[in-house]
């Protein structure tokens, strides 16, 4: 059974704002949140909206969310600064199942870097870390981690010109034997990463995104196949993924209408 008292809404003040790469900013809060990498919170700006955000920085008495300015809510969120109020509910979701020993790969695409950041900080130095973005200025946290990263960009402005999936294939081809691959990024990218893993019999964990309301598995807004993304996920392992026929195919609009992903993401990015 859930403990419910730790998931009630609380109002916090932004303690610090940190400008990240292009179109990204991070808001820090001084609050001891029980948390595990991959979990998320619902962030509320009074009068605007409430949206799910992954925890992107975490320590015992402090956490942060990283915002990419792309919609009405995030354009507002990115203007917040020290002292501004944000309502927080959570953390929600299952989080990553972290393998502390073994050889793992982390594959991040675009803002999919944010939920993987606190995971990366828990991994040993053997981990392979692949990070892709549109172009150099969109690479999130370029200087943050101790772990060496293999970069790629769509336009070749930084690292390999091409996709994270190519880098992952190269690593596997060169003889790296992964015990687990963690990934977050555009759904098509995660789907391709998952298929590479399937081909090579590597277990994979994917963090899915869907429109959310309650955050705790009741309202049904984020249902994907027979999975409830906010409660059963957002992280799904290979076994569940094989069974989710909506993975990389369908998602629900705010009305509950099921549409293909292109239509879903064109609405989400408005």
């Amino acid at each position: 059974m859930n403990t419910i008292t730790d998931q009630r809404h609380i109002m916090l003040r932004v303690e610090k704002k940190q400008v990240e790469s292009r179109e990204f900013a991070t808001l820090f809060f001084n609050y001891a949140l029980p948390f595990k990498p991959g979990q998320f919170i619902m962030a509320w700006i009074p009068g605007i909206d409430e949206k799910p955000y992954t925890i992107s920085y975490y320590s015992k008495d402090r956490f942060a969310i990283t915002i990419e300015a792309k919609g009405v809510f995030s354009q507002k969120a990115i203007t917040l600064d020290k002292g501004d109020l944000v309502g927080i509910r959570g953390p929600f979701g299952n989080g990553f199942d972290i393998k502390s020993n073994g050889v793992v790969a982390v594959v991040a695409g675009g803002c999919g870097m944010a939920p993987l950041a606190t995971l990366v900080e828990k991994l040993n130095k053997n981990a392979t870390f692949i990070h892709g973005a549109k172009s150099k200025e969109y690479i999130l946290y370029p200087d943050r981690f101790d772990l060496e990263r293999l970069f790629c960009t769509d336009d070749g402005s930084f690292g390999h010109k091409g996709f994270v999936t190519e880098l992952l294939e190269n690593e596997i081809a060169s003889g790296r034997r992964f015990d687990m691959v963690y990934t977050c990024g555009p759904e098509i990218m995660m789907y391709n990463v998952f298929n590479i893993c399937e081909k090579h019999h590597i277990p994979c964990q994917v963090s899915l995104e869907r429109y959310m309301r309650c955050g705790f598995g009741v309202c049904g807004a984020c249902v994907c196949g027979k999975q409830v993304v906010c409660k059963d996920g957002p992280v799904f392992g290979s076994e569940a993924l094989r069974d989710i026929k909506d993975f990389n195919t369908k998602a629900l609009l705010k009305s509950g209408k099921d549409v293909d992903l292109a239509q879903y993401f064109s609405w989400r990015c408005k």
Partner: protein, 301 residues
């Protein structure tokens, strides 16, 4: 534990409340497999509707408050769902709402052609200005909606009532007279409001919302008690039911079946089997059956 309800055999008396977890076959099937005898779809409306902005659902610790605002793809935009649901092997209630008697009738007639086992009309949602509750608080408008819908559907009709009705027994009797085959009670209580004192503003984007979960159970038990006294048709009792003992209690008030909604938040999707098992254990300890306890609290002295 199988139970008869309006001519159908259900594997147990557990019902998924409308508005929980949506409309797709995959998730409804999972709920059935996890111990729910009868599942209810999210209310289907006449037009596509997004519902309200977030925050729409807030946990209060002792229950929750929501103003999701009746989002619906609209009854004409659910071909994928209907296609999948036609191949189901579980009993299904399709819930419908409208903004006028005519809209209720139009949506219900169409939905009836998709072969749900039952149709429920939601005349009790507090989260929209022009839909739902406005019909369910008045005996005449309740009668009008029920009799209009009853004429155009070919499956049994369940009417979902609001505890905001001044006399819920009276409304239930009116619905029975108009042709309802069963009553489902209660929808959420209120509407209520939660204000954040730091932000000095209501938390829900719609400002007010319906209360659900453990805090409303006494209201649900009282409403079912009043309805049982007023009608002869069966009652689906719900409102804050979280444990087997809660289920027994609302059955004693008069329910034949027991709905669960918010408890999915507290005990997960497995709550249906868990409550069914707890109920069964209680009945077995007390050497009685479901039939023995429905309305048991009404027996004199």
């Amino acid at each position: 534990m199988a139970i008869q309800f309006l001519g159908k055999t259900l594997k147990n008396p557990m019902v998924l409340a409308s508005g929980i977890l949506g409309n797709s076959k995959d998730i409804l099937e999972r709920i059935h497999e996890n111990g729910c005898g009868l599942v209810t779809m999210k209310s289907i409306g006449p037009e596509p509707r997004d519902g309200h902005k977030n925050p729409t659902v807030i946990d209060l610790g002792h229950g929750m408050i929501n103003a999701v605002g009746l989002p619906s793809p609209g009854y004409l935009n659910m071909e994928n769902e209907w296609r999948d649901l036609e191949k189901r092997d579980f009993p299904l209630i399709a819930s419908v709402y409208g903004g006028s008697v005519k809209e209720y009738q139009m949506v219900a007639e169409f939905v009836s052609s998709k072969n749900p086992d039952f149709i429920e009309i939601n005349i009790s949602c507090p989260n929209s200005e022009k839909h739902g509750m406005i019909f369910g608080i008045n005996p005449q408008s309740s009668h009008d909606v029920v009799s209009a819908v009853k004429k155009v559907i070919n499956v049994p009709l369940i009417v979902k009532l609001t505890p905001q009705a001044p006399d819920i027994g009276d409304i239930a009797r009116t619905c029975e007279d108009a042709g309802a085959d069963a009553i489902c009670a209660i929808n959420t209580v209120g509407p209520g409001m939660v204000i954040d004192i730091e932000a000095r503003t209501p938390v829900l984007a719609f400002k007010k919302g319906g209360l659900s979960g453990p805090m409303i159970k006494p209201v649900a038990v009282r409403c079912v008690f009043d309805i049982y006294k007023a009608v002869d048709i069966p009652i689906i009792g719900l409102g804050g039911i979280t444990t087997g003992e809660d289920a027994i209690e609302i059955m004693m008030a008069g329910a034949s079946l027991v709905g669960i909604g918010s408890a999915v938040r507290y005990r997960g999707i497995d709550v249906f089997q868990a409550v069914a098992d707890e109920m069964e254990a209680w009945l077995s300890d007390h050497h009685c059956s479901h039939e023995d306890i429905t309305g048991a609290a009404h027996k004199e002295g």
